[in-house]
Symmetry: C2
Subunit: 296 residues, 2 copies
């Protein structure tokens, strides 16, 4: 099974892809994972060059990764959300030096710096924070540049041979990131599913959100979140994204989706089901450190 | 008037702060603008060290800047949204080299790279894209490192003495970013206002969003957007953020807010008005390039 994800090696995205690979194939094979940006990951699936794209959807502290949802809307005719992977998020300070007192600059992904903002300000108030494109890139900088430490996962620190200078730096306990697994079709019902829906109103008027949410309420459908994503043609015009509990094939949800379709069609709007997929819990057995570098 | 914003010098945030300064004081004085991260900007206002914080709220293509909304919730007892600045967003490729053919790497803020993703892929498919912390940092890299160009505003390119190698790189025309101006109080009604509201449900059950939006619908209040922001204690628990047309002191909106208060109180939830503020259009007279470096 060819899996693509947002890289590079050593990021939480790679970890999510490996956890999914292990769930499906029973083993971990880092060589089978390829890295692209979010848009190109879905392009690989659409073009039959990859079976699955594993994309970051939302972090418990930092919120949704908007680009993933925008790309799912762009590719809705070809690619659907198919499954989830919930990755435990843990941050450490890691570097070539022996103690945290020798660190001058902390490099990391902006989202990671935000997830640890309060602890970093309390523990290391004088250190300069430098945002880079990934926690893996931060680890590379920590290897190469004196005085630089990376804020990254323990797995990344070990992968790059860095010393762990301070553990447990996430501001909120039980931090996790949810990834969407995307394929050419979505998944059959399991009894514990989620459905992702995009809705665009044609003409705008007060009360539309109330009408749409009424179709879900009268069918006892529980919405888990709603997000206004940019429609990109004019300021303050949006596509609404709803996630809800249930599978699109269940009678109540099916009924609600039909009502939404009638409603948006009347104003020349549209709705797109972006997928139904099983809801997962946080992976209980995280990957061993240094996957693929073990002997034997 | 002391204004703080997300820096550094040469970013769209600085431009927004200068445009607001010009609107209020009639002149542009870059020396009076100080730079902090988003959280610390509001801390400066809360502590009476700054009069206004100018913070990025949403880009027309890339969506909301979640951290700004999260910080507004954290500081809701002290700081309110008070005004808006809409900044025209234009991107150019800029470097020390003479032609775009000599560029090897494009540095920019991840949001800028995303706003120009399709044009960059079409025009410069082989160039490596490197995300950095700001468009201003990208301009510094373009000054220092051979083969590096910055994706930044024309103003930033001129500010850093770079040649403009390619203009008009934004994927969508009329691109703009809206900034919130935050102070110790919000603004009196002008007749064309917006109100920002945060709502947290205590107990979760189906139909809550439908109930809440009903209070706005029955008072003919038009919601402009709704966003689920993380509550940060457990996965998939949220604070809902609504923006709506109207001022919190107008009878219909006041009535709706009272109904929301009764509703959330019944389930041990809460609501917080984050501010009422005049709605602005895009600034028609952009700043001259190189502000503050002109003679006389």
């Amino acid at each position: 099974m060819q899996i693509v994800t947002l890289g590079p090696k050593g990021t939480f995205s790679e970890e999510a892809a490996l956890l999914y690979q292990k769930r499906i194939t029973g083993k971990v094979d880092p060589e089978k994972i390829k890295f692209f940006n979010i848009f190109d990951c879905l392009q690989e699936v659409e073009s039959y060059r990859a079976d699955r794209a594993v994309l970051p959807a939302e972090n418990m502290v930092d919120g949704i990764i908007g680009i993933t949802f925008d790309a799912l809307i762009d590719f809705h005719d070809f690619v659907k959300v198919n499954d989830e992977v919930h990755v435990n998020i843990e941050y450490v300070l890691a570097g070539k030096m022996k103690v945290a007192g020798e660190v001058e600059k902390i490099f990391s992904h902006p989202s990671a710096l935000n997830q640890c903002a309060h602890k970093l300000d309390n523990l290391f108030p004088t250190l300069v924070q430098v945002p880079v494109s990934s926690t893996a890139e931060a680890a590379v900088k920590a290897m190469e540049e004196p005085g630089v430490a990376a804020l990254c996962s323990p797995r990344t620190a070990l992968e790059y041979g860095l010393n762990i200078l301070h553990e447990n730096l996430a501001d909120y306990p039980n931090n996790e990131t949810r990834f969407f697994v995307c394929g050419l079709t979505d998944s059959p019902p399991t009894g514990n599913d989620r459905t992702l829906l995009a809705v665009r109103f044609g003409v705008n008027r007060p009360g539309q959100l109330h009408e749409i949410t009424g179709f879900f309420a009268e069918n006892n459908i529980d919405l888990t979140f709603v997000q206004s994503r940019p429609y990109k043609v004019r300021p303050q015009e949006y596509v609404l994204i709803f996630e809800m509990i249930g599978h699109k094939s269940e009678p109540g949800l099916k009924n609600a989706l039909n009502k939404v379709e009638q409603n948006v069609r009347a104003t020349d709007g549209w709705k797109k089901v972006l997928g139904s997929y099983p809801h997962r819990k946080k992976e209980e057995k995280p990957l061993a450190h240094k996957p693929g570098r073990k002997s034997s």
